[in-house]
């Protein structure tokens, strides 16, 4: 890996150096963890494709997942969403917004010792169902809630 870097530095010169350095940057060890980012799931244009890309093609409705979300979000640019799982063995929690240009907003890995509860703020393009998908003991569970949006958060 270091050798690659040296070759890159030797190669020298202008735009090509810049491009090569960017490639070399990809080889840094810390970039390894970026490989986990599920591009297919995050670029899925609709809910079904996003679920499929997450491996959650089959999932069960569950009352063991609690979602806190406003009934009406006046500003779609900042919508607070909280998700809490009561399912034993919760491994990950994902937030999906059905009518956003890309449905998957976030996917959290919950290591042992961390509470299966996260809160964040999302953008919503328009009124939509919001889904919380939980992976617990290898199976997928889902709950949903509609959030009405007065002003969308993704427009220009």
């Amino acid at each position: 890996m270091n050798q690659t870097r040296r070759q890159v530095l030797k190669a020298g010169g202008g735009a090509s150096l810049y491009a090569l350095l960017a490639v070399a940057g990809m080889l840094r060890p810390e970039a390894a963890f970026a490989a986990d980012w599920n591009q297919k799931a995050f670029e899925a244009k609709n809910l079904k494709d996003a679920f499929d890309a997450l491996g959650a093609g089959s999932r069960a409705d569950s009352i063991g997942i609690l979602m806190t979300a406003p009934e009406i979000a006046e500003n779609g640019a900042v919508v607070p969403i909280g998700a809490l799982s009561k399912l034993p063995g919760t491994e990950s929690i994902a937030i999906l917004i059905a009518k956003n240009p890309t449905a998957l907003a976030a996917n959290f890995d919950i290591p042992a010792g961390t509470e299966p509860a996260v809160s964040t703020r999302v953008k919503m393009a328009e009124t939509s169902d919001v889904y919380v998908l939980v992976k617990a003991q290898g199976k997928y569970y889902v709950t949903k809630k509609e959030v009405k949006v007065t002003i969308g958060g993704c427009g220009g």
Binding site: A77, V79, P101, P111, E115, V118, S119
Partner: protein, 103 residues
């Protein structure tokens, strides 16, 4: 260079509650500028929090996370005075790590 994160970590009843506010534009790639040109996407893709070398939360994000992202979670076992580190990486390869002491 991005501004520092604001991290608050409070130990209570055997668990540490962590609140993080990051400073990031979180461009979706859907918006247009005044000239009608698309503004390229620029957003945080990964966040990870570690305590004593152990990852206590890792997150993958898409463009739908709001500008200047907020994140709250809690984990068991942290003590007052110990430190946690939070790192984010965005789609342009920028990254930032900040540290906070548990109160």
């Amino acid at each position: 260079m991005a501004d520092p994160m604001r991290i608050r970590a409070v130990a209570k009843d055997g668990a540490v509650s962590v609140k993080i506010l990051m400073s990031h534009t979180m461009e979706t790639g859907q918006r247009k500028d005044d000239a009608g040109k698309l503004i390229p996407a620029h957003y945080i893709q990964q966040v990870s929090a570690t305590w004593q070398g152990k990852v206590v939360l890792s997150a993958n994000w898409g463009t739908a996370i709001a500008k200047n992202p907020f994140l709250e979670f809690s984990f068991k076992g942290g003590q007052k005075g110990e430190k946690i580190q939070v790192t984010w990486t965005d789609n342009k390869g920028d990254k930032r790590t900040d540290e906070a002491t548990i109160n």
